[in-house]
């Protein structure tokens, strides 16, 4: 199971076991949700938006280790960022999980998700929470679903 340690790095296993910011955010003024109808993953993301800044982010839901860890890492990485910054971080993440290329200039704990690119079926798992969060931040609270073309 060599490749699996790429996918399930200890950071991932840790965030899966002890997801950070796994809670309802009482001060949230935006809520996003996402689901992967094909496997039953469901996620709700709470965003406290102040102007165009995400002052706090949390989530709840169920899903595989990748989706749980990605959501947990997301809450840490988006907190305090502007919507534009959040989108840039997601763009980097998306490139990384689809190509495996890690942006050496912007290294962060998100690099733990780089192994996902070897498992194309799991890319949806890594991006679901991010879609929900960004859509919510941008004012689109329609549930996201992995069935939409593109991730």
């Amino acid at each position: 199971m060599q490749d699996l340690t790429d996918l399930y790095q200890s950071v991932i296993l840790d965030h899966n076991r002890r997801p950070r910011n796994y809670k309802v955010l009482p001060a949230a003024n935006r809520v996003g949700s996402g689901n992967n109808p094909m496997c039953g993953d469901q996620i709700t993301v709470y965003v406290q938006l102040d102007g165009d800044r995400l002052t706090d982010v949390s989530f709840q839901g169920s899903g595989c280790a990748i989706s749980q860890a990605s959501a947990s890492l997301m809450t840490l990485n988006l907190k305090g960022k502007t919507v534009a910054e959040a989108e840039a971080i997601y763009a980097n993440l998306h490139r990384m999980v689809t190509t495996g290329k890690v942006d050496e200039d912007n290294l962060s704990d998100l690099a733990a998700l780089a192994g996902v690119h070897q498992f194309p079926a799991r890319i949806k798992c890594a991006t679901l929470s991010w879609h929900a969060a960004l859509n919510a931040a941008k004012g689109d609270e329609k549930p996201v679903t992995t069935e939409k073309p593109g991730d």
């Binding site: 199971m1 490749d3 699996l4 996918l7 399930y8 296993l13 076991r17 094909m38 496997c39 039953g40 993953d41 469901q42 169920s62 899903g63 595989c64 280790a65 990748i66 749980q68 498992f119 079926a121 799991r122 798992c125």
Partner: protein, 410 residues
Amino acid sequence: MNNAWKNLRADFPILNQKVNGKPLVYLDNAATSQKPQCVIDALTHYYRKDNANVHRGIHALSLRATTGYESARERAAKYLNATEPGEIVFTAGTTDSINLVANAWGDENLKKSDVILLTEMEHHSNLVPWQLLARRTGAKLRYLPIVAGDTGLLDLAQLAKVLTPEVKVFAFTHVSNTLGVINPAAELCTAAKKVGALTVIDAAQSAGHMPLDVRALGCDFLAVSGHKMCGPTGVGLLYGRKVLLDAMPPYRGGGSMISNVEYFESKWAPAPAKFEAGTPNIADVIAFARAMDYLNDLGREAIAQHDEKLAALAYAGLKAEVPGIRILGPAHHRSGVVSFDLKGVHAHDVVTMADQEGIALRGGHHCNQPLMKKLGLSSTSRASFYLYNTETEIDRLVKALQKISKFFAS
């Protein structure tokens, strides 16, 4: 087990490959089965020698195609012990077959005060078409529950309470694709008949796995998918009692389902043509019949025994060797479908890890969302067996799950 079982794995070319460096162990048979070379050959032979449109042609190829197509109908009728070939409508699969009944029979026969009875373990294919029908007609949906706990058996003690005279149709699965439960189909049909309800059996998981006799079952309709029983994708059938098919309006409009068309009105062909609008899936229908012949040659009772043996081995092995596993479905008298939940490990993680070992499992809700919710789960992992699976493969499954459970526990 007869001679056809010798060297049976060699009949399935796809099994002879490695996945992630390990010999493939294909345990996703409830989703779709693999195809023996004879079925693949039936397709290539058709396209290399006989291909033509059916029914409307009288040149040599068209006659061969028509003869092949109608011979498939005869063999399908025999396979299910239907009274005549005219009781077999070829469709695109189980989902299409059930929609056919819900539309053509349902819209014509249901009204607001009627009840559609289903069970709590239905696949979305035997659930959503009835929800849509209920919405169109105002009829009510009602469910026969499963007993509490993880065996997933139907709660037959409740049957008399839910199967009342308002029930006009009772649609249920023969074998659950998630629980492995084999329902007492004949008994349910007898009970339905007593209150005057028609019965629709979803035989997607049983038609290729055990002897099946529509007259012994006493059902009115029965839906089958070819791809789950060694046949090609895109083809299936609906068995319907002839008097019911004859009385039903058509399903889709188009060529071949008509007897006379004018600009402002048309008359329909008799069943089964009435339900087969357009150019049918000729090649796949012919190959589907070849698959039925193949299963008959092996012996369908032998297949059922083989499935049951593997399921029992897997059930016992997983239970004994894998800490924290929760196995759904009954311990005995089950089909070759074993779903389980590994404590603290999501099904997708289980499937990805098993795939690294060359083992093909399925993870998710298995088109059984409401049942999952009822069982307090969002998804399960599922191993499902068929005639080409072996005891050695069950060993590999059990070992892989030990490893996975260890990996996540560490």
